[in-house]
């Protein structure tokens, strides 16, 4: 079984500042890793994913995450945030076999203020 820990329930940051949202996972098998973003009263949108290959993955809106197998982490970073990045961010894992059941962390609310 897998589990995901997002230590920060809320991260306040000023606009144009850098941000890191932390994610650690536990699994006895190889996993896929995901970050999803959820805006108020909306469903989840995939932000980025790690399946294999390069451990650094990037999204189209400036976020990046790095898979670190030794530290079992998949932290999300952005060098300069915008007001529009305010949302809930969920880290998720699935094992690479079967139906890839997603196991989510408890989420981190990113609050960007002017």
């Amino acid at each position: 079984a897998q589990s995901v820990t997002q230590l920060d329930s809320q991260v306040p940051v000023f606009e144009e500042a850098p941000v890191e949202l932390r994610c650690n996972y536990s699994s006895s098998v190889s996993v896929y890793l995901f970050w999803y973003v959820q805006y108020p009263n909306q469903g989840l949108q995939l932000l980025l994913k790690y399946l294999s290959g390069s451990t650094l993955v990037e999204s189209i809106n400036g976020f990046e995450a790095e898979f670190n197998k030794s530290q079992t982490s998949f932290h999300l970073r952005k060098p300069s945030v915008h007001i529009s990045d305010t949302a809930e961010y969920f880290c998720a894992v699935s094992d690479i076999t079967g139906f890839q059941k997603l196991v989510f962390g408890t989420g981190t609310r990113l609050l960007v203020s002017p």
Binding site: G43, L44, L46, F99, K101, G107
Partner: protein
């Protein structure tokens, strides 16, 4: 655009009155999932269908049922909603075996009065 659609977006039902939530997809994906997300919590998988094969999570209450009459549609039936069932219900799809990414609908927010 191919997508996952959920209707209605907001549903109010009375305590104990059966309610059905609807999900449809134009992605032609094999797998459809239902998640329950309570306020400020992570989504929790209730069950999923791989084609017509139904897979229930061990801790999903019997009060929750699902139907998938065809590839495009999947329904979530709550037989006797309690106050604790108030939540956002998310439908998702994926291609199936070997496919990692799930595509989510916008969700249905259920209120139980």
């Amino acid at each position: 655009d191919a997508m996952v659609i959920q209707n209605p977006r907001y549903q109010v039902t009375q305590f104990g009155k059966p309610v059905t939530l609807s999900c449809s997809q134009t992605l032609n994906h094999n797998v459809m999932y239902w998640y329950q997300q309570k306020s400020s919590q992570a989504p929790k998988l209730l069950f999923h269908y791989y084609d017509k094969d139904f897979n229930n999570e061990a801790d999903t209450p019997d009060n929750f049922q699902s139907r998938r009459p065809n590839t495009s549609f999947c329904f979530l039936d709550i037989r006797s909603p309690g106050l604790g069932d108030a939540a956002m219900y998310l439908c998702a799809t994926s291609r199936g075996q070997g496919a990692a990414e799930q595509y989510f609908g916008p969700g249905t927010r259920l209120t139980v009065t």
